[in-house]
């Protein structure tokens, strides 16, 4: 019993840390540190999946969470960040200079988003009957922060990272709220995500080639 309590305390802490990592992401300027922060965030998620995996292995003998944990480690912690670093070495931009708003305001907006998801989610009955609720708020906030990150960054890699953070947010939402998604769905989401990153990597190269920059503000020829 005490073991279980320690477990849920750990999960609670991890969910806060994951939220915190998305704040750190929002506050960083260098593309290099985007990738690092994303790596750390994915590692935290892998830890959470691992803890849940051990718990379900001991109590029900299910191993699928552990497989998912392994997949996150391989793809989100190692492969995707490495690939993005390689892409980033080939383009000339290292530091983001112009945002739609300055960073302190963006971080404040993130706080606003957390408050927003708190109020929206507690308003829905059927969600708010147990302790899981606060973790759910953290998880959903990560999704909205990822969206805001995508809007605020103008470089192609920033937008890819933003999407990956949204996906991370979705993943922990599913993990914390339902405890068990069908395994095949988890796998499929992984395949989709991997293809997304590959495609976007290729496209970033091509955009850099044709437009001589990866500033997505330049993609403004098609209108009306």
């Amino acid at each position: 019993m005490s073991n279980l309590a320690v477990n849920s305390n750990l999960l609670e802490t991890l969910s806060v840390l994951i939220l915190l990592s998305s704040f750190v992401l929002m506050a960083s300027k260098r593309i290099n540190s985007y990738i690092k922060t994303f790596r750390i965030q994915s590692f935290l998620i892998a830890l959470a999946a691992g803890i849940m995996g051990l718990r379900s292995l001991i109590s029900e003998g299910r191993w699928d969470f552990l497989v998912v944990c392994l997949l996150i480690m391989i793809f989100k912690v190692l492969y995707i960040p490495n690939m993005l670093s390689k892409t980033y070495k080939n383009v000339s931009y290292k530091v983001e200079k112009d945002f739609i708003l300055n960073i302190p305001i963006l971080v404040l907006l993130c706080c606003g988003l957390v408050v927003f998801s708190y109020f929206t989610l507690t308003g829905v009955d059927g969600l708010s009957q147990d302790v899981l609720n606060l973790q759910l708020v953290n998880a959903v906030s990560v999704i909205w922060i990822g969206l805001l990150f995508m809007i605020s960054r103008k470089k192609a890699i920033g937008q890819i990272i933003g999407f990956l953070v949204i996906e991370n947010g979705l993943y922990i939402t599913a993990m914390y709220s339902t405890q068990e998604m069908p395994f095949i769905v988890d796998l499929g989401i992984f395949i989709d995500l991997l293809t997304f990153v590959l495609i976007m990597g290729v496209m970033t190269f091509r955009i850099n080639e044709k437009f001589e920059s990866i500033d997505t503000d330049q993609l403004n020829n098609l209108k009306g």
Binding site: A174, P182, V185, G188, D192, M203, K210, L219, N221
Partner: protein
């Protein structure tokens, strides 16, 4: 048998990647799409006989009923037409140096991956798998949209993938909430299983389910091109090669709508009425029609104009689904079929015009009827058809939706609806009718058609939409009635 629908395109992709000669590539493409069409016919029979088809052997994930069969039919018919049209289209592009012959294999293999993902989305029972397949449709078509690899195509492809992926991510949140609403109701073997959700709909948690529907509507709505999430659509449709534009507009949008309809059915059953989904759907539908009407009136690029017209028709279908009366749902389903056939015909003919005139600007086109008698005639009649003129089939379905709106609870919606349809009609007439007459600027333009197999496709489609406007075959009617029964839960 039905499982072959998934295996055949995959085998075709593998073959297309190994074969090097372009004649063989063309042959494989046409062969595959004809085979798929035959398979669809036999599956149609089974669905009409048994109501639904599922196989216990493959983990129970394969499931086709009348609703998915209608969209599946559209996918495979338009897929077949696109395969035939591509024959002449690609050869013409290669002749003009716009495409290297080596890239033919890439084109076809991407196209069949795209068709495979759409078939997958329509044949799975699990909502989670359906989500995965719909996300895979945007990934597999990304390089098709950016196939020409110039600045504009790249921009369109980038916007397409970013906007659709983010939209679809929001839909995943909806799917997670849908899963959450069934906690304690379904056991782990039937998680997210559509039939289980459908039969147990009344015991799902309503408040979570309503939240789930909003996210699913926004998410799949992005993919279906509903305003205000439509920004990717005109770019992608105008920059993609014409056969792909036809597939995107005629098929992909319907696949995304299918996802919305599946979710709406569960929510409606849970609530016992359509007041919640209905208001959302009608609102977003009217907004889409209005947005499209404005952009059609001021459009300078004919492929973009057709794309905006797709947004309009998606809006019309969504309004019909929101009304939730038997007549409206029947009209909406029929409109799905009619719009796909008519719009793909228009995109095919715009492809012919583009290859002849080498411009997408409306102002630079003159004398289309004289230069290209067949394509010109089809394009002209097709424009009237898509604007909703009798005797074409779009008129028949639009008319039943209009009648249903005025029979429904929101009469004022009907007034706006009809006014907007009139505005779209006027927009199409004002902007496009001038291209058919006059003398072309370029005096060297030869009279004659490009792309012979494609032109045959155009004529077949034109005959199809004219005949089905006057007479609906019994089997098709039965299929639509069955799908209507599924949606209304009767």
């Amino acid at each position: 048998m039905g499982i072959l629908l998934l295996i055949v395109p995959l085998v075709a992709v593998l073959l297309l990647l190994t074969v090097k000669q372009s004649q063989f590539r063309h042959a494989i493409s046409v062969g595959t799409s004809s085979l798929l069409l035959i398979l669809a016919l036999s599956l149609n029979r089974e669905v009409l006989l048994h109501g639904s088809v599922q196989y216990a052997s493959c983990g129970g994930f394969f499931y086709v009923d009348a609703l998915s069969m209608i969209v599946l039919d559209i996918v495979l018919i338009i897929g077949f037409m696109a395969a035939i049209f591509s024959l002449g289209y690609l050869e013409e592009e290669i002749k003009h140096g716009k495409l290297k012959r080596e890239r033919l294999g890439l084109y076809y293999s991407l196209m069949y991956t795209f068709i495979f993902t759409m078939v997958l989305a329509l044949t799975v029972k699990n909502m989670g798998l359906m989500w995965i397949a719909i996300e895979a449709t945007s990934l597999s078509s990304a390089f098709l949209v950016g196939f020409y690899n110039d600045k504009h195509a790249l921009e369109a492809a980038w916007k397409y993938v970013i906007l659709c992926s983010v939209g679809i991510a929001i839909a995943l949140l909806g799917i997670i909430l849908l899963h959450l609403s069934s906690a304690g109701v379904l056991n782990s073997s039937s998680f997210l299983d559509w039939t289980a959700l459908y039969t147990k709909a009344s015991s799902l948690k309503s408040s979570v389910l309503r939240l789930a529907f909003i996210f699913i509507l926004i998410g799949f709505g992005t993919k279906a091109g509903l305003a205000p999430m439509h920004n990717w659509l005109p770019d992608a449709h105008s920059q993609a090669p014409s056969p792909i534009s036809a597939l995107l507009s005629g098929v992909l949008l319907n696949t995304a709508l299918y996802g919305i309809i599946r979710a709406a059915v569960i929510v409606d059953r849970n609530q016992g009425s359509s007041s919640f989904t209905g208001r959302l759907l009608i609102g977003i539908g009217i907004l889409s029609i209005a947005t499209a009407a404005v952009f059609i009136l001021t459009q300078k690029d004919y492929k973009r104009l057709l794309a905006y017209s797709s947004i309009e028709h998606m809006g019309i279908i969504v309004v019909a689904m929101g009304l939730y009366s038997p007549l409206a749902v029947f009209g909406g389903l029929m409109h799905m079929i009619n719009h796909s056939l008519t719009k793909s015909m228009l995109f095919f003919s715009s492809g012919n015009i583009l290859q002849k005139y080498d411009t997408k600007q409306i102002s630079k086109l003159k004398g289309v009827l004289k230069i290209m008698p067949v394509t010109g005639t089809v394009f002209l009649l097709g424009l009237f058809a898509i604007a909703g003129t009798p005797p074409f089939s779009v008129f028949a379905s639009e008319f039943s939706i209009v009648v249903a709106v005025f029979n429904g609870p929101y009469k004022w919606v009907g007034v706006i609806f009809v006014l907007l349809l009139a505005a779209v009609f006027a927009g199409i007439a004002v902007t496009l009718l001038k291209i058919f007459y006059g003398e072309p600027d370029d005096k060297n333009l030869q009279v004659g058609e490009v792309n012979l197999p494609g032109t045959v496709c155009l004529v077949i489609l034109l005959v199809g939409i004219t005949v089905s406007g006057l007479y609906l075959p019994g089997d098709l009617k039965e299929l639509i009635t069955k799908a209507q029964g599924i949606i209304l839960g009767t």
